[in-house]
């Protein structure tokens, strides 16, 4: 399980997160929501060691906070970053294979990733830079899966994608969710879609946890208030 206690994150002197707590069971998906600048990406970066952070982050028996980014990747944390971040000089296949760089054992192979996203198998030898935004998003997710992660961090799953493409990506993610012990944290702009895709949700506001709870039966009005920081009066 994933156990986060009092997580602070910093960019130099600027503090982006203030004491966020979170606890997730294997197989659970967290929908991480919040306005721009609320600290969603900072939260993911603090978990995978990309930014200065303080607080306790435990994944199973591993104390992630004690490890550098490279060690956390080896311990099973994989990030599909915002903006997709393709390796532009590499082909689609090479991009995916880079994900297996940490050499963790598990079910994910090139064949399984191209089974999940068939278009990637078709375009395996193309330079990743020539793909559409949606296809690049699939490469970014596939690359993270190739690491056989215990904790999958998906930043901005559908940002900048056409609605129909975003739907396709989410359909693939829904398939993942039903069949694995992997813990997933997903950042998604569309709150309704995020709530539909998660088991629990966490709404951040100016770096603090504003509201958290199960997605099933979530009160969208309360989430709206937490999202925009309006008082409950």
């Amino acid at each position: 399980m994933l156990e986060i206690r009092g997580l602070d994150a910093f960019y130099g002197d600027f503090q982006a997160l203030f004491g966020v707590d979170l606890s997730l069971q294997p197989g659970q998906t967290l929908a991480l929501i919040g306005a721009n600048g609320a600290g969603k990406s900072s939260f993911l970066h603090a978990i995978c060691g990309m930014t200065q952070a303080r607080g306790s982050v435990r994944l199973g028996d591993t104390d992630l906070a004690a490890l550098p980014a490279v060690g956390r990747a080896a311990a099973g944390v994989a990030l599909s970053p915002e903006g997709r971040r393709m390796f532009l000089s590499l082909s689609v296949r090479e991009n995916l294979l880079m994900g297996a760089n940490v050499r963790r054992r598990g079910p994910w192979t090139l064949d399984r990733v191209t089974g999940l996203f068939p278009i990637l198998g078709e375009f395996a030898d193309r330079p990743a830079g020539l793909l559409s935004g949606g296809q690049q998003q699939m490469v970014a997710i596939g690359r993270a899966l190739m690491a056989n992660p215990a904790l999958l961090l998906l930043d901005e799953v559908s940002l900048g994608l056409a609605p129909v493409v975003a739907q396709e990506v989410h359909a693939a993610l829904a398939m993942l969710r039903d069949q694995s012990e992997m813990i997933t944290i997903m950042v998604e702009q569309d709150v309704n879609r995020a709530i539909a895709a998660g088991d629990r949700f966490l709404c951040l506001l100016e770096g603090r946890a504003a509201l958290t709870g199960p997605c099933a039966g979530a009160d969208l009005d309360a989430i709206g208030r937490a999202y925009f920081g309006e008082d409950d009066t």
């Binding site: 990309m50 490279v70 971040r85 393709m86 590499l90 880079m98 190739m146 690491a147």
Partner: protein
């Protein structure tokens, strides 16, 4: 298999060159190969690794001096001292890397240049390295005069082809994939467990080791070394010109760039000022018209031809 056969024929022809060339031609050929080796080493670091170093002339000098000091103080044959010079520069690079890697981008470049200056000043002030007056090759006696030109040429050929083979092999390895990923996008690379420092350290040490070996080969046939010649900034100017004009980040770049560089130099040898003007103008022109350098332009030409051939 035709390109493979072509390559083999070219290598055999290069190996046999000393039997058909006169002394002057052989000397020029050695010089060209040293420049190819230096550019390939720099290309590995800058083109594939994304670390722009304007201080590689410092490692040319260290390699040259390593040859002269090692053969003076230890009973090693000058030819055997060439790989040893590579080890000396590799160790120096390894020790300096923790300091230099604290700097990023343009600061790293400044740091490299400062390091090269420090090498020059230390060598110039130190009696052990002969000071400003330089050193003669103490082991010159053990060299066969008749075969010296040919031997220097073969060593230059070995370093140039060795550097190229190394880059070729690296870029087909897991390490090469990690290196390119890191250059493309550092955040994404770190997120999948690529350790930026480890990868950069390895490529840096390899690059400076090759540079040191090429430097040692270059000063072997001179029989004399001075700080001014060894740490000459013109090494750097040549390396950057050749790599960028030839096509940075492409394995054929250093060869094409060196060919153009030496054609310009030999045809404009009558006037040093026109030579520099031509060099600068060529650099500007190539960068404007062919952003990928000569190698990039050649690639485009070949792919256009092959698509024309495959069309019915």
């Amino acid at each position: 298999m035709r390109p493979g056969i072509l390559l083999a024929v070219a290598v055999v022809a290069l190996v046999l060159l000393p039997f058909g060339a006169d002394r002057g031609m052989l000397f020029l050929a050695s010089e060209i190969l040293v420049v190819v080796a230096l550019s390939q080493a720099w290309n590995l670091l800058a083109g594939y690794g994304g670390l722009l170093s304007p201080g590689h002339h410092g490692f040319v000098g260290i390699g040259g001096y390593a040859l002269y000091v090692l053969t003076r103080d230890l009973p090693v044959h000058p030819y055997m001292a060439i790989p040893l010079a590579g080890i000396v520069t590799a160790v120096l690079g390894f020790l300096l890397a923790p300091i230099l890697f604290r700097l990023r981008e343009v600061y790293f470049a400044v740091g490299m240049w400062v390091a090269a200056e420090i090498f020059r000043i230390v060598v110039m002030r130190w009696d052990y390295t002969g000071g400003a007056a330089g050193l003669p090759l103490a082991a010159a006696r053990s060299l066969n005069r008749e075969w010296m030109g040919a031997s220097a040429y073969w060593l230059a050929l070995a370093v140039a082809l060795g550097a190229t083979a190394l880059v070729w092999a690296l870029m087909r390895s897991n390490f090469g994939l990690r290196l390119r990923a890191l250059k493309d996008d550092e955040l994404a690379a770190r997120s999948i467990g690529v350790a930026p420092h480890r990868v950069r350290l390895a490529v840096f040490v390899l690059s400076v080791a090759l540079t040191g070996m090429a430097g040692a080969v270059s000063f072997l046939s001179a029989l004399f070394i001075t700080p001014v010649a060894a740490f000459d900034i013109n090494w750097m100017v040549t390396i950057v010109f050749v790599t960028i004009i030839g096509g940075i980040g492409r394995i054929s770049g250093p060869f094409l760039g060196a060919a153009l560089y030496f054609v310009l130099r030999e045809t404009l040898a009558f006037s040093s000022s026109w030579y520099l003007v031509a060099l600068g103008a060529t650099a500007v022109l190539v960068m404007l018209v062919m952003p990928g350098g000569l190698a990039g332009a050649l690639d485009r030409l070949l792919s256009r031809k092959s698509t024309m051939e495959t069309q019915p």
